[in-house]
Subunit: 213 residues, 2 copies
């Protein structure tokens, strides 16, 4: 289904919807026809909500997560552990970690990872603001929760070196150095050994954890 749109307006709408991630021409057409089938009020709400999203949404001054306020509810939360900072690639990662209910510290959203292939360098993502954030806020631990890809590893390594440099500056803070950790990698919970890829299995043996009761 390539050309032959019965209407130029429809074709333009399909082209726009086609630009959404993972949406082909056929799906874009379904979306466009769905929007046409909605009644006036529904369609208006749909459009208005997208406009409001674009115009109203802000990014937290501290962690760069999406927020309705200047400082997001996590960064300003009195029940959060303000000494721990979890570094993630994007907004979805924050939501995913929040859904685990296992983490109570703060976040730092990089907005991407270092990827020379895509032309993304350290200056293109929020690394400088991360480093700038560490000292004045008395952060004691930084957890790196980046993807386990080559780009993720590169970014991990780069941030690790930048943060280690903070430890080696011989001021009074050096007594309690900043702890830098990364989330553990290994076999997923419920995973079978025989179904795990060799790389993950190999790593999970090398990085084995002492059994404690």
């Amino acid at each position: 289904m390539s050309q032959n749109y019965p209407s130029a307006l429809l074709e333009r709408a399909v082209l726009q919807l086609n630009s959404l991630p993972g949406v082909g021409k056929k799906t874009a057409l379904r979306y466009a026809l769905h929007l046409l089938k909605q009644d006036e009020e529904e369609a208006q709400t749909f459009i208005d909500t997208l406009v409001q999203l674009r115009q109203g949404v802000r990014y937290c001054r501290m962690c760069h997560n999406i927020s309705d306020t200047e400082v997001c509810s996590i960064c300003s939360g009195i029940n959060r552990d303000h000494h721990t900072l979890c570094v993630v690639e994007n907004v979805q990662d924050v939501m995913q970690i929040e859904n685990t209910g296992q983490y109570f510290g703060l976040y730092h959203v990089l907005g991407g990872i270092i990827s020379p292939m895509d032309g993304v360098g350290p200056k293109d993502i929020e690394i400088d603001s991360l480093v700038a954030r560490i000292l004045p806020e008395q952060i004691s631990e930084v957890i790196l929760a980046l993807p386990t890809t080559m780009e993720g590893d590169t970014t991990n390594f780069y941030i690790f070196r930048r943060l280690q440099a903070l430890n080696s500056t011989g001021d009074e803070h050096s007594a309690t150095p900043l702890k830098i950790s990364q989330i553990s990698r290994g076999i997923a919970v419920g995973g079978e050994i025989e179904c795990t890829d060799e790389l993950t299995l190999g790593r999970s043996i090398v990085n084995r954890i002492e059994f404690k009761i």
Copy 2:
């Protein structure tokens, strides 16, 4: 990923995008974040195009296909065969048949098919306008190109009876009765016999076509 949206605006946008056909919450979130990443001009074009689609699009007075004009380019086409009418369920079907390059007649878009389970009766789709269209336009053949489902068969049968009634009204037209056909069903081109379902295979034997050289 269920709750914990960092922004109410984002949550509302996700809810709206979630209403698109086949879009879950996770995909809706990806779409919303994609819209946020676009630059101002791109986002404005996206929104404007959808608004223009809603406000500008019309339905052809003749065939009820989507159109930019009161009568669509097919119904007003001088190169089309105005004696043949192909009845389809929706706009996509017209595009799909046009893409075959094998049909040069006119269309009639029902905008649905008869489905008692979904509460869709003959009066809810464009069947009356189809019947009204036949006589004055001197249509000689109606091709039914509806889905090969129970609903499609029901609709085929209902339309067939309505159109046959036109033939039996004993006026001067009865000399050349309206031909009513349906698209052939059988094994797809390139299809293996052993991979064809029994129902299709059985039908394709019953409705076999004489071999001609």
